[in-house]
Amino acid sequence: MSLIQSKGEKATRQGFSDALMELGKENPDVVVLGGDVSGSVKVDAFAKAYPDRFFSVGVAEADMMGIAAGLALVGKIPIASAYGEFAAGRPFDQIRQSIAYSEMPVKICASHSGITVGPDGATHQSLEDMALMRVLPHMTVISPCDYLETKRAVKASLGITKGPVYMRYFRDNTPMFTDESTPFEIGKANTLAEGKDATVIAAGLQVWEAVQAAEELLKEKISVRVLNMHTIKPLDKQAILKAAKETGAIVTAEDHQIHCGLGSAVAEYLAQSMPTPQEFVAVNDTFGESGNGKDLMKKYGIDKDAIISAVKRVLKRKK
């Protein structure tokens, strides 16, 4: 028996790209900024279809964020596109002042996030971006789990008209397992599997890993709830509290440093509401390296197997 089926693979960044094409058609105010990585982050299709609404700003991410703010000021809906590290880390102070503090409705769309960037290595693997964006007031932070959810998240982000949105997604092709009937609402976690022994709260690529882990654990008679926490900020506190109350044990799973990410957000909240044993599946305070995405997920302990052991560890700690 399997909890959820996947129907082939497609890249989350393609979801972003396809959403852009629809938005370009629907909304003449949507403008896209490219930082000389248009093919990789897949804004090239938009650039071709709407050349007058695409602006190349060169390899200059700080400038890109300021330009986005200026465009927002005159009523445009700017989509700033870059790799995770260059979308969040390089222009942090610019995002902070010109966008977050100034509450500009800019969409910062970060492809190539996390360790699965793969062969490019550590400099290109943004494992800190959720921390950087989550700590900023007024910022909405979204980490969708597959192609379709990315597409829906990008489209839904236009509904946020006050303050910016940061969206992180990935380079590789990954399993598609949500469909149009899957609930998706910014700020509301989505329960992918019910369970009573523990809850895995996952974001991004770790959602599918969590589903697989839950399936395997079921064979060992361990019943695990899986929450897709696609919105890191604002956090769905209700869903977390419910999980803590009903299952009494939490595992968080993310493609991010162990500090300051999703796990951290959950721990912060539970410490203030209902302290609960929690295990972290995350990159353990180290930089990444070259390799293919799957191998790296294994080596850095953020795959299905890591989730399975974390669930077993947390169950031992459960009272």
Partner: protein, 300 residues
């Protein structure tokens, strides 16, 4: 096309207004006991010229869609901006007494209208070097909508050390944004020392030219000269223009003039008295009268 909704002042009026703005700055800083004297005094002539002659704007309707956009990239110059905005009618002039105090709309560095409610401020500044990019985005957006509004951005010279400005300059020239005019407050001073000691900027005009800009130099204290430069900048097609305005930090107050040590310090009581005695009262009138005998009790 609607014209500016403010009355334009002539050269003499602009000078008088500049002096009034300088008086306002001294008084504001005396009350706030914190903030920047040197830079703001140095650009009072420029601010007077901009808000009472150059800009299309409507102080009573700060979101007027036909307005020119003005960005203060060097956010620490806030006092001169606030005084000018108040004088132009954006908000009650009495509010200048609240500079840098808790709960004020007159933040130490400018905070935007729709978050902090101060009309006339479009976006935050304070962390240096960010205004050029914002101006570029704004100019691109206006051009997309085929709108004639102009975009102005004012930079400090020390601020030009920040690489982001050069990124933005490149982009402005790449897109030939002739609806964008930058103004550089070339006072040869920054916090630590004179600019050539902290970080050599010369040959500054060559730098801008090599980045594809139309460069105009002027004396930032000679109002006709400045207006002339802005006029030429407006006429220049196909390229963004920059007006490099030579100024003196602390202009108008003898003991502050051209002295970088006045970058970020407010005057004390004695100094404020002396400064005001050098800046004759104007027809526009002060926003607050101090009771010098009682050492400011009225103001606090």
């Amino acid at each position: 096309m609607p014209q500016s909704n403010t009355q334009k002042l002539d050269h003499k009026g602009l000078e008088e207004m500049a002096r009034q703005i300088r008086r306002d700055i001294i008084k504001m800083l005396l009350i706030s006991e914190s903030g920047h004297s040197g830079g703001p005094l140095g650009v009072a002539d420029i601010f007077s010229s901009m808000y009472f002659n150059v800009l299309r704007h409507d102080p009573k309707n700060h979101n007027w869609p036909e307005r020119d956009y003005f960005f203060l990239s060097a956010g620490h110059l806030a006092p001169v901006w606030y005084a000018t905005l108040a004088r132009a009618g954006y908000f009650p002039i009495q509010e200048l007494t609240t500079l840098r105090k808790i709960n004020t709309r007159l933040q130490g560095h400018p905070a935007p209208a729709y978050t902090h409610g101060l009309p006339g401020v479009e976006i935050a500044s304070g962390s240096l070097g960010q205004g050029m990019s914002i101006a570029v985005g704004c100019a691109i957006g206006l051009r997309l909508d085929k709108k004639p509004n102009r975009v102005y951005v004012l930079h400090g010279d020390g601020e030009l050390d920040e690489g982001q400005i050069w990124e933005g300059m490149m982009t402005a020239s790449h897109y030939g944004l002739d609806n964008l005019i930058a103004i550089v407050d070339r006072n040869f001073c920054q916090i630590d020392n004179r600019t050539d000691k902290v970080m050599q900027l010369e040959p500054l005009s060559d730098k801008w030219r090599s980045f594809g800009w139309n460069v105009l130099e002027c004396d930032g204290h000679k109002i006709p000269d400045f207006l002339d430069a802005i006029g030429k900048a407006k006429e220049h097609m196909g390229k963004p223009s920059v007006v490099i305005a030579k100024t003196f930090m602390g202009r108008g107050v003898s003991f502050m003039e051209d002295d970088y040590r006045w970058h970020g310090v407010p005057p004390n009581l004695e100094q404020a008295k002396k400064a005001l005695s050098e800046l004759n009262p104007t027809e526009f009138g002060d926003f607050i009268e101090f009771d010098w005998e009682k050492e400011l009790v009225t103001a606090k």
